[in-house]
Structures are given as C-alpha cells and as structure tokens.
C-alpha cells in the first residue's frame, strides 16, 4: 500500500498515485483545449472589429461555434474533473475510487472533445454551442457532446465514490474541508447539468438520424439551458472553491465561519441551477410567474450566497493577514498581500472581476423585464466573459501556477512573466467584458458577422458610431487577453516539459504553502467587534455600485416603447 502514496514535501498533502495521474491527465487536456479555444477566440474578436473584419462569414460562424465549445465546455470541464479528484483524493488523503473507470471517463471525454472539434471543423456543424433545434447539425455533433457528458458524469461519480472511500477508511475526522464541500456543490450541479444535457441531446441525436420527427423549439431551449446554463454554475461553485483554497494556500486562511460559508454553498445546491431561466425571459410560452421565480433563483437566495462568498473569501484573507500582524488601518492587509505572486493576483482579480463586472451585469440582465433590453445582444457575451473568463478561467490559471510544483513536481519557469500574466489577462478580459456590454446597450447583436448589413441588397441599419469604436476597443482588448492567455499556456507547457524536476523530499524556498496563524493570533484583530473592517468597506462599495446600476437600468427600460 505504501508506495502508491507519496507525501508532498511542500504541502504535506498525501497523493494517491493513480489519482495524481488522473489529475495530471485532465489538467493537461484542459490546457490544450484552452489553447485551441483561445485561438478561435482571437479570430472571432478580430472579425468583430469592423475595420479588420478578418474572417469570411462561414468561417466566422464556424470559429464562433468552436470557440464556445472548446473553452466553455472542454477546457472548463476537464479542469473541473481534475479539481474534483484533487478536492477528494488529495485533500482527504485517500485513494481514488475505481481509477480504471475514471480513466474510461477521461477517454470518453477526450474522444467526445476531439470528435466535436473534427465535425465542427468540417463545416457540418456550424450551429453555435447552443445548436438550437430545428437548425440541424451532423449527428456526430450531438454524439460527441453525449460522449463527453457521459465521461464527465463518470468523473462526478468517481468523485462521490472517493468521498465514500475516505469516510469508510477514516482518512479524515469530522466534516470535510470547506474547499471539498465547495467541490461537492460543483459536482452536484454537474450531475443535474449532465442529466439535463442527456434528456435533450439524446432525442436530438435521434432526430438528426431521422428516428424522431420533430424537436419542439421551446422545449429544446428549456431543457438545453438546464444543461448550458447550469454548466456555467458548475464553474461558479468550482472557482469559488478555488478562491477559498488559494486563501489557505497563500495566507493560511480559515473560514470566517464554517456555517455561513457552507449554508451559502447549500443555497447554490438548491437554487443556482434555476438561473437557466435567464435564457427564456424573452421567449413566448412560459409564464411570468415561472420567469420571475426561476430567474431570481427563488427570490435571489443564490445571489445572496454569492454576495456572502464575496465577503467571506476576502474576509478570511483579511483576518489571516491581520492575525499575522498586518493589522493597522483599513487596508494594510491588502497592501501587504503578495501582488507579484500570480496565484494570489489571479485569484484576487478573478474575485473583483467576477463580482463587479460579471455578477452585477448578470443579475441586472436576469430581471424579467430588463432582459428585453439585452437579450441576444453582445451584452450577453460581455457579461459571461466577466463571469466565466475573468471569474473561472483566471481562478483556474491562478491555481495551476501552484499545481505545477505540487502535482507535477516541476519548478515553474519564466517566473517574471508569470507574475505579470494575471494582470495582462485580467485587464484584457475586463476590456472585452466592458466594451461588449457597452456595444450591447447600443443594440449590437451577438453572433453576427456584419452589422453594416452590406449583403442585404440595400436594406440597412446604422448603429450609433460609438458601437464601432466599442467593437474596435474590444478587438484591442482581445489581443491583450490573448497575449495573457498565450503567456499562460507557454509558461505551463514549458514548465511541464523543461522546468527543473523537484526531488521527492525537496522543499521549495520560499515555501508555497502558508502556515495558518494560531487561533490566539486571531484575538483582537480589526476594530472592536468588527474583525474585517476593510472587507466590509469593499463590500459596501460593491453594494452601492450594484444598486445604482440596477436602478439605472430600470430607468432605461422605462424610456423605451411600451411593451405589453
């Protein structure tokens, strides 16, 4: 038994070798699909820049389809499977359940992802990621997604099995860690996501093969979004777990209170998936009651959960920093944070970008009535580049810098570039999010090759001149973000290939795992009864921005035509 475990000298974590290999394989596959999807993203961004207009129409729509699938599905889900194995086997110090089945799941995911890229590249599946019926793709398109989803579902059940193993073999005492609990949340949402995907994609495959006569367009949208939106909710639960993990890795932070953070995750488990209804707010056939209840995640209980995490993640960092002696003023804890460490800076930019850009825009766009102003405009991709790229992707990048030595036992190369990378990527992607949202408020449609309408034989619409400027600024931001994404891929791939191999007992200096402060160090931090005044002030700023933007949009709505 002993030799199939190793203990990491830097972190003290106990790695089961088969689990470790699975984590490595999934993480490497993730980065490969990030690279592919990123290249497609560059082509899309440059085509939407009116002065450049790089690709012809058919290639633009093809690239957009491939971009969405490679980054929104393949990169993120591969990484999340690696994360699930890490949060179960590594954090609980146990063996992974059924490694052979886990490898079968990985193989299915890989086959699905490759098949999908192939069939999209042939031009027979230029249907966007959403593949809205009755627009039809080649059957292999649906089959590839089903294979990928089944593989991912297997990964989820290996994760749940590993939790059972850890409990049965008593590798931990009491409750699982908060980070593992967040991973459980992500896995539960993943199960609902994949089941929804199966319910709709299997009949759609049969329809494309001619065994079923018709797929109802509205039923397709309803169930597909149970898959398509919930898969982004896996990302939210996963990247918030990563934030908590990085708070412990960099600062030795502990949860402000276990109860509050876990209840916030429970609100996700119960209500986060309801937000799939965001996509149906401008649809016929579903009632306002359905729309209001579901789009508000049951009266904003899941939004409340996100805002709670938004306090407790930086709050736990502030408390740990104050316990270490950075206790003066409101923000000494933040000034003295390691801003040159990409694991921290990536996580913090992810937190701020997800909240201010992605969170606020998502809730506002999800208001039943206000949605009519944004539905299917480029505001929508603006919003989700803030949530899923600044939020999730940057958080995963930040963690990857730490995983290189811990999991792969290689020293990171190009450390200077790495310290800049989160800023490059974060600023570039913030530009993408803001400029797309700006163009969206001017009515620019998403997924559209030519907003000058040059091919319509003279029936044209002229958007405000600012729309062209915003799309050009978006193109520049895309280049910046792609430079940041490319830097990440180069650093990680070079580190894995050429980074110095670390010895089995070798400890890195400086250490890459903070020592948690003693409980007694936490006594008397902050001001009076408020232990984290700085975080509370930041949360207040966030709240004001949120409320102001929310009501501004009601005012915009009131100014347009009457709609009844």
């Amino acid at each position: 038994m002993t030799e199939i475990f190793r203990t990491c000298p830097d972190t003290g974590l106990k790695f089961h070798r088969p689990a470790e290999n699975l984590m490595k394989a999934n993480a490497v596959a993730a980065v490969v699909f990030l690279l592919v999807g990123g290249v497609y993203g560059l082509l899309v961004g440059l085509t939407r820049w009116p002065a450049v207009h790089l690709l012809p129409a058919d290639w633009f729509y093809l690239a957009l389809t491939a971009h969405g699938l490679n980054v929104l599905i393949f990169w993120l889900i591969f990484f999340e499977i690696a994360l699930l194995y890490f949060c179960s086997a590594a954090l609980l110090g146990c063996r992974i359940a059924t490694p052979k089945i886990a490898w079968a799941g990985f193989a299915l995911m890989l086959i699905g992802a490759l098949m999908n890229n192939y069939i999209v590249l042939t031009g027979n599946a230029t249907v966007m990621m959403t593949s809205y019926a009755p627009m039809e793709a080649h059957p292999l398109f649906y089959l590839s997604l089903i294979l990928f989803a089944v593989g991912a579902l297997i990964g989820c059940f290996v994760f749940f099995g590993t939790l059972v193993v850890a409990k049965a073999e008593k590798t931990y005492e009491g409750s699982v860690s908060l980070v593992t609990f967040g991973a459980i949340t992500a896995a539960i949402i993943a199960v609902f996501t994949i089941v929804s995907g199966a319910i709709i994609l299997i009949p759609t495959l049969l329809w494309s093969l001619g065994f079923i006569a018709e797929i109802d367009a509205l039923a397709y949208r309803l169930i597909w979004w149970g898959f398509g939106h919930s898969s982004q909710q896996i990302n939210v639960a996963a990247h918030i777990s990563v934030w908590y993990a990085i708070a412990a890795i960099v600062f030795g932070a502990k949860p402000m209170s276990e109860k509050v953070s876990r209840m916030a995750f429970l609100m996700y488990i119960l209500f986060l998936q309801l937000a799939s209804a965001h996509h149906l707010l401008a649809d016929p056939g579903v009632s306002s009651e359905f729309k209001m209840f579901n789009t508000s995640y049951a009266m904003y209980l899941a939004v409340m959960a996100s805002m709670v995490h938004g306090l407790t993640v930086p709050g736990s960092i502030e408390a740990a920093q104050r316990a270490k002696g950075f206790n003066s003023g409101l923000f000494e804890w933040l000034r003295r944070a390691p801003w040159g460490n990409p694991t921290f800076s990536g996580m913090f930019i992810s937190l701020v970008g997800f909240g201010f850009l992605g969170g606020i825009s998502g809730v506002v766009m999800g208001v039943e009535q206000i949605n009519v102003l944004m539905h299917n405009t480029v505001y929508v991709p603006g919003h989700f580049h803030a949530t899923v790229v600044i939020g999730t992707t940057l958080a995963f990048m930040a963690l990857t810098y730490w995983l290189v030595p811990v999991l792969f036992r290689r020293e990171l190369v190009m450390k200077k570039l790495a310290s800049w990378q989160p800023y490059l990527f974060g600023i570039g992607m913030s530009g993408v999010a803001l400029f797309l949202m700006g163009a969206g408020t001017l009515g620019v449609p998403r997924r559209h090759w030519d907003i000058t309408f040059s091919m319509t034989g003279g029936v044209v619409h002229e958007f405000p001149a600012a729309a062209n400027t915003l799309l050009a600024l978006n193109g520049l931001s895309v280049i910046l973000a792609i430079a940041g994404g490319a830097a990440f891929c180069i650093i990680i791939v070079s580190s894995l290939l050429f980074g110095r191999k670390l010895g089995n007992e070798e400890k890195l200096d400086p250490p890459i795992m903070a020592t948690p402060p003693e409980d007694s160090d936490y006594e008397g931090i902050g001001t009076g009864a408020i232990s984290v005044p700085g975080t509370l002030v930041l949360a207040g700023v966030f709240f004001v921005a949120f409320a102001v933007y929310y009501f501004i949009n009601w005012k915009y709505l009131a100014e347009t035509w009457g709609i009844g």
């Binding site: 729509y61 980070v179 736990s316 299917n376 559209h448 030519d450 709505l557 035509w561 009457g562």
Partner: protein
C-alpha cells in the same frame, strides 16, 4: 490550526458563533434580495414594459395565411430595395410579422403613441426580433405564435434585425417598422 483546506477544528461547527461582520452583510444582502424580488411584480403593476406571454401553438402554413390576409387587407404601398408591402393597420389593430430565412416580412407602418397587437412567429428556424434603436429584443420560435403589444413612443424609421444565429445568411436578415406622427 485549521484552514479552508482542512476539516473544521470543532466537530460541532454548526454551534459556533457567526462573525459580526458576516451578520451585518447577510442582513444587507437579504433585504436587497427582497427589494429586487419586489421590483419585478411591482413593474407588472405599474410599469409599461412587461412582455406578454400570450402564446399559441401554430404551424408555418397557418401563421403565413393569417399574415397574408393581414397584408392583403392593409397594404398601402410597396417600397424599399426588396419592394416589400408597407402595411398600415388601424390603431389598436393586429400586426402580423413573419420571421424567415432571411428577412422579416412585411414592412409595417404604425402611428406614434398608438398600441398594436403584434403576432410573431418563425417559418423555419429560431430567430431574434431585435427592434433598433428602441432596443427591444424578443425570441422568435417556429410553431409558436407569440402575441404581445407594442406602443411606439417616437416617430422614425426602425429596423428589425435578427439577433438569433440562423445559419449562413443570418447577417442579411433585416426588416423595417416605420412610425409616423
């Protein structure tokens, strides 16, 4: 010593007190959630922009024949590069608009500050009814007839552009709504 990566130190962590900072924030966001929950039904009562959900199952043929009789009855002239009928229904009347690969048909002429009942459906795939620059965006589905009202609040030429991807000609799909005083 514990962290977010280790099991909680206390096995009865549920009974541990909650930080005051957290209690303050939870109270604020809970009230904010109630405010936002109130706003949507409140707008249904007092606001002028509440998209109707009145919907019927239909077929492309049935919808097209209704649209054709609407065009036959109220066409006032033909115009534009596509020589499309400009249809002017009476104020308060019904408007049929067909979304298809790749245009919106016919051209509609409305009077400012009058309310019209729009009927919208697709002949083929999914489309997006995006009225610019008013920036009103509604999903259009085949086999569903969506009925809602629109009340123009200023005169001018408006475009209806498709903002749901509908194949290789998606960027050619455009129509017009004219609003007169």
């Amino acid at each position: 010593m514990n962290s977010t990566l280790t099991p909680p130190k206390s096995k009865l962590w549920w009974n541990e007190p909650v930080e005051k900072s957290e209690l303050i924030w939870i109270s604020i966001v809970f009230v904010w959630g109630l405010v936002m929950s109130f706003m949507m039904p409140y707008w249904h009562v007092t606001g002028n922009q509440n998209l109707s959900n009145e919907t019927y199952k239909t077929t492309p043929e049935r919808f097209m024949s209704k649209a054709q009789s609407f065009v036959d009855e109220y066409t006032v002239r033909n115009e534009g590069p596509r020589n499309y009928p400009v249809v002017k229904p009476p104020p308060g009347g019904d408007v049929y608009m067909v979304a298809r690969l790749w245009d919106f048909w016919p051209i509609v002429e409305l009077e400012k500050d009058q309310t019209y009942r729009f009927h919208l459906s697709s002949m083929d795939w999914q489309h997006g009814f995006s009225l610019q620059p008013a920036n009103i965006n509604i999903q259009v589905l085949p086999k569903y007839e969506h009925v809602f009202t629109l009340t123009p609040n200023s005169a001018g030429e408006y475009s209806v552009i498709c903002n749901e991807y509908c194949g290789i000609g998606h960027h050619m799909m455009i129509g017009k709504i004219l609003v007169v005083e």
